[in-house]
């Protein structure tokens, strides 16, 4: 058999196309007779649509025009609730809501026409932030502006306050973050009488788009085909919104009878599509004399924008992660997703967890400072251990040594020594500080999600004696093609090059669920292992399965088998491992099959003259189960950390009447090569029994830790509390000018650090 493939830094499967420019993204694809499509959008946050008129200046008879009245099926973007229309009909509920579609073969003509569509509105009062939504003076969604609420209740929080030695409160908030995948969204649709609707484009979840199109056109599923083209980054930003663009392109193709492509430019992509949910978290925590957590009372609120979209599930993940990796007998988490008249916020790497984990990891530092323990010692006294129950009552059954993980990370970062050095040199205008966060991320869908998805993968033999993977998992840079190929090759005992992977196309691949939630390696990879086991069994009947075979022997055997028996194809479907229980009604039980764990350490310099923060070094130690490809895994971690650095310090959306005002890369700043510190990436490898080759989830974890680690480091440097991201130089200068006296963990805090 081939030596091991898992654990090796094999080259990315599709790398040649990417380094030569040959890879085809949707903007690179042209079809004969193709029209270009554009979206005409609302210009107000909320109001009634009164009239649409087409001003003279272009030959309107040459244009294909689609409104809500043209929709053959249901005018909804089919997701969890069907509250979002594909095109507004009577009302608009946020700025940049799609109202009308135009198509023409000439892009210049389209640009002119776009300016000549005039929409009249009767404006209605709008709700523009979470507080206004909760005040309920204006109701914009349902009965109460609330998309979803959860309650986690462990023990009895209210019984503890009276006996607590200390009660520490804090409020933490995070703002919207734009994904800034470098490839803007785009879709190409064709409509033919035989195949009906075919859409290809930049997307994460082919079967989400498929469901949205069958609903929009009221077609049986075999009449809709969705194909993923090379996707230039997504980060959650191409999870739900592509259903809308696909629907729009398909409606224009349906009406015109010609292929239609819609590609957003950067400004439209930034202003109209989803962003990370803004959040606010309030913590009230009871601590004993000896620094043990007695009760955690947490209120977590997120702004979902105008329609519910994925907010209920983003809220769910944020809620479950809100108490962090701590053992605490009494925990209450009350969480709410509210409606505002902004474009819907959506999936973004971490999916609610970066928000609530930012809060809890800042709060842990606050508690430590307040009660006079070091941040590391306070955490050490309170970490979850194997056998403990999380906030939802999930018993940690896997080996877990958070004190050890944290210690290794801190030592590797030179934390203790640097703390001393920086304190000794604190007279300079350049203040240096160290901070860290210890946290976890649950892999796979929450609760019973994976059971409901019941994902399927298949393997098939090719004519040449290779094996091809058939699954709907998408490659968007994170390494799906490579990782799944490595897993299949390892399980089949053949070479990496002998495994092919079928591009995601709903006409060819089964539904393996969406490419989200850090589930690809762990959940879908495991299914590939199972299908591979079956493949080998079928190829050699059980009794003659050889102990050893060469890749060449495998291929010869496969060709022989297929020449006699026809194509060999095996499948595997997800079945929940025994002993997993989840109670959706009370939000109790096993929230995730497995958690990945990490400690991230940031070293910063704060310039007290300019207010600028520079991250000088970053150390990231994580336990993600077995690492399948060390180069790709480190790449995932480094990329996530730099997105997290942007979230912490740079990326600020400026809002004006529910609309992003700085929707350009000129004034929405993401990190460049000059902003990134050296990043030390370390792995602790503890194989996970139910993950492919022992792997757990990795993709989202690195988004969770940087913001709290960096803010904790800034607080350490200045002795002033900051509880909001992004933390801008203006915020720092403003607090410095108050002399730090009104800030929470005032100068004496620094003194308490051992």
């Amino acid at each position: 058999m081939e030596p091991h493939v898992v654990g090796l830094p094999v080259r990315r499967k599709e790398v040649v196309g990417k380094i030569t420019g040959a890879a085809k993204y949707i903007d690179d694809v042209q079809l004969p007779g193709m029209l270009h499509g554009v979206t005409i959008r609302s210009t107000i946050p909320r109001g009634k649509l009164l009239n649409i008129s087409f001003l003279p200046g272009v030959p309107w008879d040459e244009f294909t025009i689609v409104t809500a009245a043209d929709i053959p099926g249901s005018n909804v973007v089919s997701q969890i609730h069907d509250d979002q229309p594909m095109l507004a009909r009577d009302m608009v509920n946020h700025p940049h809501e799609p109202v009308l579609l135009l198509a023409h073969e000439n892009k210049d003509q389209l640009r002119c026409a776009r300016e000549l569509v005039h929409i009249e509105y009767e404006p209605l009062p709008a709700v523009l932030d979470m507080d206004e939504a909760l005040e309920q003076r204006t109701i914009i969604w349902g009965q109460d502006n609330v998309f979803k609420q959860y309650l986690i209740n462990k023990g009895d929080v209210d019984s503890v306050w009276a006996e607590a030695a200390r009660i520490i409160e804090g409020e933490y908030s995070t703002e919207a973050q734009e994904h800034v995948y470098i490839e803007p969204n785009g879709m190409l649709a064709t409509v033919s009488p035989s195949e009906c609707v075919t859409v290809s484009g930049s997307l994460q979840c082919p079967y989400y788009v498929h469901k949205a199109l069958t609903t929009l056109f009221n077609l049986p599923s075999h009449k809709v085909r969705v194909i993923q083209t090379e996707t230039g980054g997504a980060f959650g930003g191409k999870e739900e919104y592509p259903s809308i663009i696909a629907g729009h392109a398909a409606l224009l193709a349906w009406k015109s009878g010609r292929p239609v492509k819609i590609v957003y430019d950067r400004e439209e992509d930034m202003v109209a599509t989803t962003k990370r949910h803004p959040s606010r978290t309030r913590h009230r925590t009871a601590v004993s004399e000896d620094g043990r957590l007695l009760a955690m009372d947490i209120e977590f609120t997120i702004d979902g924008g105008a329609y519910s979209t994925l907010s209920p599930v983003v809220l769910s993940r944020g809620t479950i992660h809100a108490a962090g990796p701590y053992r605490c007998p009494n925990v209450r988490v009350r969480s709410t997703a509210v409606a505002t008249n902004a474009p819907p916020h959506g999936a973004f790497r971490g999916f609610g967890a970066p928000q609530s984990l930012f809060a809890v990891e800042r709060h842990m530092d606050r508690i430590a400072y307040t009660i006079g323990l070091t941040p590391d010692e306070f955490r050490r006294r309170n970490f979850l251990r194997s056998g403990d129950a999380t906030a939802t009552g999930q018993i940690i059954t896997q080996p877990l040594d958070l004190p050890g993980l944290q210690e290794r990370a801190l030592r590797s970062a030179g934390y203790y020594k640097k703390l001393e050095t920086f304190r000794a040199n604190s007279a300079s205008a350049l203040k240096r500080g160290m901070g860290f966060a210890t946290f976890m991320h649950g892999a796979g869908f929450t609760g019973s999600g994976e059971r409901h998805l019941a994902s399927v993968v298949e393997l098939e033999g090719t004519a040449g004696g290779n094996v091809r993977i058939l699954c709907s998992m998408t490659e968007m840079g994170q390494g799906t093609n490579t990782i799944l190929t490595q897993i299949a090759a390892e399980a089949l005992g053949i070479a990496y090059e002998q495994v092919e992977i079928c591009p995601p196309d709903t006409a060819l691949v089964p539904n393996s669920g969406p490419t989200v939630a850090s589930r690809t390696s762990m959940i879908v990879g495991k299914l590939i292992e199972q299908a591979a086991g079956e493949f080998k069994k079928r190829l050699w009947s059980d009794d003659e399965l050889p102990a050893d075979y060469s890749p060449g022997q495998f291929s010869a055997k496969l060709r022989d088998y297929q020449s006699v028996c026809g194509p060999l194809r095996t499948r595997a479907q997800y079945h929940e491992p025994a002993g997993i229980h989840w109670d959706d009604e009370h939000y109790r039980g096993d929230a995730y099959g497995a958690f990945s764990w990490a400690t991230y350490v940031a070293e910063v310099t704060v310039d007290t003259i300019t207010g600028e923060v520079q991250v000088d070094e970053f150390t990231a130690l994580q336990e993600v189960g077995r690492v399948i490809n060390p180069v790709l895994a480190a790449g995932q971690i480094e990329g996530g950390i730099v997105q997290g650095l942007g979230f912490a310090l740079l990326e600020k959306v400026t809002w004006n009447q529910g609309s992003m005002a700085n929707n350009q890369l000129t004034n929405y700043i993401i990190p460049t090569a000059m902003d990134v510190p050296p990043i030390k990436v370390l792995f602790e490898e503890i194989p996970y029994e139910y993950g492919a080759s022992g792997a757990k989830g990795i993709g989202e974890l690195p988004m969770d830790g940087p913001a709290p680690a960096i803010l904790n480091a800034v607080v350490n440097a200045l002795g002033i509390a900051f509880d909001h991201v992004p933390l801008t130089p203006e915020d720092i200068l403003s607090k410095l000018s108050q002399n730090g006296k009104h800030a929470h963990d005032a100068p004496e805090v620094v003194e308490t650090i051992a």
């Binding site: 830094p9 080259r11 990315r12 599709e14 790398v15 040649v16 196309g17 990417k18 380094i19 030569t20 420019g21 040959a22 890879a23 085809k24 993204y25 903007d27 690179d28 210049d108 994904h179 800034v180 995948y181 470098i182 490839e183 803007p184 090379e230 996707t231 230039g232 980054g233 997504a234 980060f235 430019d265 950067r266 968007m476 840079g477 994170q478 390494g479 180069v631 790709l632 480190a634 790449g635 480094e638 990329g639 996530g640 950390i641 730099v642 997105q643 350009q664 890369l665 000129t666 993401i670 990190p671 460049t672 090569a673 000059m674 990134v676 050296p678 990043i679």
Partner: protein
Amino acid sequence: MKTSRLSLTINGARRTIETPPMKRLLDVLREDFQLTGTKEGCGEGECGACSVILDGVLVNSCLVPALHAAGANVRTIEGLSPGGSHPVQAAFARCGGAQCGICTPGMIMASVHLLERNPHPSRLEIQEALAGNLCRCTGYQKIIDAVQAASEGDEIADL
């Protein structure tokens, strides 16, 4: 729309087209010559996905009008190695410098431009040279590693 005759050299080959003079070089490359390896990320010269080398200067082709390229020598990603064997391409593949791939052609052109002028740059010089090219996937570490690895090979000096 009024057009002009435009002659230029692209990846070593002399080419002539009729084009509106203010058409973006990016669109000329992508639409008139089907050289779609040069990407559009922002259309305003911020992201560098459309980086090409024009008469030895690294430019954002979304900001260059076609007439500005008249008579010029333009190098795009397609002009390196179709099989990806140029030392910088090979280093990107080996070091994990490409993830989603959309910034990769521009990033590689910026790296080639740097290494041709400065065959052995420091890490800081690499960071400075790539600061006009945004990548949202890698966090830049593996890209910087790739450029450093390419600079350590012997081939670069001979380019």
